[in-house]
Amino acid sequence: MTMLPEQAMVLALLVPLVGAVLIALASRTPNVREGITLATATTLLLCVLGALPAILAGQRPGFTLLTMMPGLDIAFRLEPLGMLFALIASGLWIVNSLYSIGYMRGNQEAKQTRFYVYFALSIAATMGIALSANLFTLFLFYEALTLLTYPLVTHQGTDKARRGGRTYIGLLMGTSIVFLLPALVFTWALTGSTDFTPGGILAGKLGHTGMAALLLLFMFGIGKAALMPFHRWLPAAMVAPTPVSALLHAVAVVKAGVFSVVKVIVYIFGADTLASAGVAGAADALVALAGFTIVSASVVALGADNLKRRLAYSTISQLSYVVMAAAVLAPLSLIGAAMHIAAHAVGKITLFFAAGAIYTAAHKTEVSQLDGIGRRMPWTMAAFAIASLSMIGLPPTVGFVSKWYMVSGAMAAQQTLVLVVIAVSTLLNAGYFLPIVYRAFFVAPAAGDAPHGEAPLPMVLALCATAAVTVVLFFVPDVPLALARQMVGP
C-alpha cells in the first residue's frame, strides 16, 4: 500500500487521538487496553515512516486545517527536522509503552487508564508540534502538551506531586505566556506571518537591539528547552512515574523545547540573518547563556545523589548543547544540533528506563545505594553504561556523532568558548556517569540488601532495545543525518 505523505500526516495526528479514545473505552480490560496502546504506537510509527521517503526526496507536504483568526491558520507542513522529531517520538513511544506495562504493573500504580489516555494525548500534541507549519500552530500544541502532561506529572496525587506540579505548570505556562506569546504576537505584528520559512521571515525587519530582545524572548519563552534560570520545572517533574520521565521528560516534552528553539532559529530568524554583521551579538549572548546552563547543570548533577535528579540535571545540560549548537549558526553545528536531538533522546530514555528498572526491582532511588547492583541486574546496568558513553560522547555510540558535528561546527565558526564548554562539560559528564557504572560493577554490594534480580521482562527488553539503537545509530546514522543535512539546505 502506498500512502500519500499528506495522508500520512493526517493519520499521524489522528492515530494517537483515536488511540486515546479506545484506551479509555477499554479501561475494564487491562490486557486489551495495553494491547491498544502498543498497536496505536506501532501504527503511528508506520504512518510517520510512510511520509519519510517523500521528505527524503525533497517534498514538503502540508495542508491547512482551519483559519482561526484572519491571517492565522492552524496548518501543518512536514519538513526534515519535524520528520526527525516525529520519528524519534513515535519510535520511542512503542518502546516506552512496552516499558510502561512492566513498570505500571510491577509497581501496582493506580489510575492506569488515565495514565495511558493522557500519554496518548501527549503524543498527539507532540505530533502536532512536529508537524506544525507555522509558529502559531506550534504554540497551540506546545501549550496543549504542557496541560496534557500535567496529569501525568502529578499522577501520584500526593502533596509532593502537587508541589512538583505547581512548579511544572508555573514555569512552563509562565514562560510561554509571559515571553513566548508576546514574542509570537510581535513577530506577527512585524511580518504579518508566522510561517516557518527556509531563510527566516525576519530579515531586515529589526535592528540589533530588537533582534536580540526578540531572540531572548523566544529562548526564555520556550521554557521546555530548560534554559537557565527557567529550568527548575524539569527536576520538579521527576515526581512523575518513571515512564513519564523517560518518554516525556527525556524525549517528547524537552525535545519539543529544543525542537522549537531550532525551528525558530532556522525558520523564523534564519541562520544567515542572525549571523549577519549587524545583529551578531544576539546569537553570541545565546551561546553564552547556553554554555552557562551546560556547565552549571552538570555541576549540580555531579552533586545529586538521587538518580532521577541527576538524570534531570544531565538533561538540562544536554538540552543546552542543542541550543548552543543552534546558536553557533554554522551549518555543521546546526546538523550537530539536529543530530543531538536524536542522540540524546535514545541515550537519555535508556538511562531513565534503567533508573525505573532499578526502582522496580530493588526499590532504590539514590546513587549511593547502587553498590554492586550490576551483578544482580547485568542487562540493565550494561545498557546504562552504553547510554552513559553516549551522554559523554564516546564511540561507539551516537552521542559521539552529534558531538563530532558540534565540535566541527564550532571550529569552523571559530567559537573558542563553545569548544571550551564542550570540553569541560564532557569531563563533568564523565564525572557523574562513570562512578555510577563503577559502583554497579566493581563495588561489592552492601551487606543487608534484599536479594533481587532484573526488573520485569518488558522493562528489560525496552531498555536493551534503546541501548542497542544508541549503538546502531553510531554505525548507521544515515537517516537522521540525511534529514539534518536537508534542514540546513543544499
Binding site: 482551519l66 482561526m68 483568526m69 484572519p70 492552524i74 504554540f139 497551540l140 501549550e143 496543549a144 496541560l147 502529578t154 496525587g157 502533596d159 506531586a161 502537587r162 505547581r166 505548570i169 508555573g170 505556562m173 509562565g174 505566556i177 509571559v178 506569546l181 508576546p182 504576537v185 510581535f186 506577527w188 505584528a189
Partner: protein, 494 residues
C-alpha cells in the same frame, strides 16, 4: 402586514409583555413556558437582526413612526446587533437551566415572580442595547437594575438580601450619575437622540457642562460595569444570588454596561475628544490595570468558588476596559471580542457552579474537595472555562488576549504587554486553586451528595462550555462582528 420591519421593537416588546402576563398566570409551569418562549423568540429576532445588519448595514426604526430625532429611534448597528445576540443567547440558555435550579433554591410560590423579574431584566438589557435614545437608555437601565435587585434578593441565603441592598445603593448612585450626565448633554445639545447628539456636540465640545457630563457618565457607567474600584457590589451579588441569576448577570449585565460606555465615548463624545483632549486614556488605563491585578490577587485568596470567579470577573472587566483605552481599532476589537468571550465563559462557570451547589450543597473550596471524582464532567467543564479565563490557546479567552496583546504591541507599549501577560499568571494561580482542590483531595466523606445534576441544567451548561471552546477555534462570527463594530465606532458613527 409583515412583522419583519418591526423586529427592533419586538426585540424589546416581547419580553416586556411576557412580564405582566406571568403575574396574571401565576402558575409556575405556565410562566416558565411563556418566558422560555419569549426568550427563544428574542434570540431568533436578535439573530435575524444580526443578519440584516450584516447584509445591508445599520437599521433605524422609528418608534410609533415618530421620526428621529423627535421620536424615539431604535438603531441597530454592528455593535449592538452583536450584543443582542450575546444577551438573548445567554437568556435562552439560562431559562431552561433555571427551572430545576430554582426548585432547589427558591420557594415554589415565588417562582412565577422570578420569571416576571427575569423577563423584565431581559427586556431592560435588550432595551439599553437597542435604543438610540439617551433617556431611553436610562429608563431601560432602571428596569433592568430594579428587576435584578429582586432577582438577587431571591437567593436562599439571607445574605442575599444584604447583597441586593448593597447593589441597590450602588446601582442607584450609578443611575443617578448617568441621568445627570444625560441631562447635561440634553441641556447642551437640545436632543436626546444619540446620533443627533453626536452631530451637535461638536459645537459645544470642551464646554464645562459637556465635560461634567462626561465625568458623570463615566463614573455612573463604571459603577454599573464594576470597574475597579467601583466593584464593591459585585462579589456579594454574584455569590448569594440564585445560581441562574448569577449565571445570567455575570454573562450579560456588566457587558451591557460596557456597551453603554462604548456608545457614549465613541458615538456621542467622539474618541478623539475623550482620549485626545482629555486625560481619560490614562485614567481608564490605570483603573483597568489596577482592576486586572488587584481583583485577580483577591480572587486567589477566596475560599468560595463563586466569590473567586466573581473577583475574576472584575479582573476581566479590567481587560475589557484596557482594550478600549488604547483608542485603536485593534484595541476595540479586543474589547468587543472579550465582551462576548468572557460573557460565555463566565456564564458557563456560574452555571456549572450552580450544578455544584445543587449536588454538593455549596461551592466553598473545602466542600468541592475531590470534585473531580464526584462530578467528573462538571469539574472538567470548570477547568476548561478556567483555561479560557487564563487565555490558553484553543479557548475563547485566547482570542481576546491575542487581540489585546496585539493592540499593545501595535502601540509599542511593551510594558503593557508584560503587564497583560503577568496578570494572566494571576489567573493561572486562581484557576489552579480549584484544580488542586478538585483533583488532589479525596472526596469528603462527611458531605452527603444531594442528587445528580438534572439534564435541564447539564445541557445548557455543557452548550456554553462547548461554545467557549468553539469560539476559540472559529472566530469568524466574533472577530468579524467585532472588527466591523470597531470600524464603525472609530469612524464615530452611531
Amino acid at each position: 402586514m409583515s412583522l419583519a420591519p418591526h423586529l427592533p421593537a419586538l426585540q424589546v416588546v416581547i419580553p416586556l409583555l411576557a412580564a405582566p402576563l406571568t403575574v396574571l398566570l401565576r402558575r409556575r409551569g405556565l410562566s416558565f413556558a411563556l418566558v422560555l418562549a419569549a426568550s427563544w423568540l428574542a434570540l431568533a429576532i436578535a439573530v435575524s437582526l444580526w443578519w440584516r445588519v450584516h447584509d445591508s448595514g445599520p437599521i433605524s426604526y422609528a418608534m410609533g413612526s415618530w421620526p428621529a430625532p423627535w421620536g424615539i429611534e431604535y438603531r441597530v448597528d454592528a455593535l449592538n446587533a452583536f450584543m443582542l445576540v450575546l444577551v438573548t443567547g445567554i437568556a435562552a440558555l439560562v431559562l431552561p437551566y433555571s427551572r430545576a435550579s430554582l426548585l432547589a433554591e427558591v420557594p415554589p410560590q415565588q417562582h412565577y415572580l422570578f420569571y416576571t423579574m427575569f423577563s423584565l431584566c431581559l427586556a431592560g438589557l435588550l432595551g439599553i442595547t437597542i435604543t438610540g435614545d439617551a433617556f431611553n437608555i436610562f429608563v431601560f437601565l432602571e428596569i433592568s437594575a430594579l428587576s435584578s435587585y429582586v432577582l438577587i434578593a431571591l437567593g436562599r441565603d439571607r445574605r442575599a438580601l444584604l447583597a441586593s441592598y448593597q447593589y441597590l445603593v450602588m446601582g442607584t448612585i450609578g443611575a443617578t450619575f448617568i441621568v445627570i450626565g444625560i441631562g447635561l448633554l440634553y441641556l447642551m445639545t437640545g436632543t436626546l437622540n444619540l446620533a443627533d447628539m453626536g452631530n451637535r456636540i461638536g459645537a459645544v465640545q470642551g464646554t464645562r457642562p459637556v465635560l461634567a457630563a462626561l465625568a458623570f457618565l463615566t463614573v455612573g457607567i463604571s459603577l454599573k460595569l464594576a470597574l475597579f474600584p467601583l466593584h464593591q457590589w459585585l462579589p456579594n451579588a454574584y455569590t448569594y444570588a440564585p445560581s441562574a441569576v448569577s449565571a445570567f448577570l455575570a454573562a450579560t449585565a456588566t457587558k451591557v454596561a460596557v456597551y453603554v460606555l462604548l456608545r457614549f465615548y465613541f458615538s456621542v463624545f467622539g474618541h478623539s475628544q475623550v482620549f485626545g483632549r482629555l486625560p481619560m486614556q490614562e485614567a481608564m488605563l490605570l483603573l483597568a490595570l489596577a482592576g486586572m491585578f488587584v481583583a485577580a490577587a483577591i480572587a486567589i485568596v477566596q475560599s468560595d468558588l463563586r466569590r473567586l470567579f466573581a473577583y475574576s470577573s472584575i479582573s476581566q472587566v479590567g481587560y475589557i476596559i484596557l482594550g478600549l483605552s488604547f483608542d485603536s481599532k485593534t484595541g476595540l476589537v479586543a474589547t468587543i471580542v472579550h465582551l462576548f468571550n468572557h460573557g460565555i465563559t463566565k456564564g458557563a462557570v456560574f452555571m456549572l457552579l450552580g450544578c455544584v451547589a445543587l449536588v454538593m450543597g455549596g461551592t466553598t473550596l473545602a466542600r468541592v474537595q475531590g470534585l473531580g471524582r464526584r462530578m467528573p464532567l462538571t469539574s472538567f467543564g470548570i477547568v476548561l472555562c478556567g483555561l479560557s479565563l487564563i487565555g490558553v490557546p484553543g479557548t475563547a479567552g485566547f482570542v481576546s488576549k491575542w487581540y489585546l496583546i496585539l493592540a499593545a504591541v501595535q502601540q509599542g507599549q511593551w510594558w503593557l504587554v508584560f503587564l497583560i501577560v503577568l496578570s494572566s499568571l494571576l489567573a493561572v494561580a486562581y484557576v489552579w486553586r480549584f484544580i488542586e482542590a478538585a483533583y488532589f483531595h479525596e472526596p469528603r466523606r462527611d458531605i452527603e451528595v444531594g442528587t445528580t445534576v438534572p439534564w435541564s441544567m447539564a445541557v445548557p451548561a455543557a452548550l456554553l462550555v462547548l461554545a467557549t471552546l468553539y469560539f476559540g477555534f472559529d472566530t469568524s462570527f466574533t472577530v468579524e462582528s467585532a472588527t466591523r463594530a470597531a470600524g464603525q465606532l472609530m469612524a464615530g458613527r452611531p
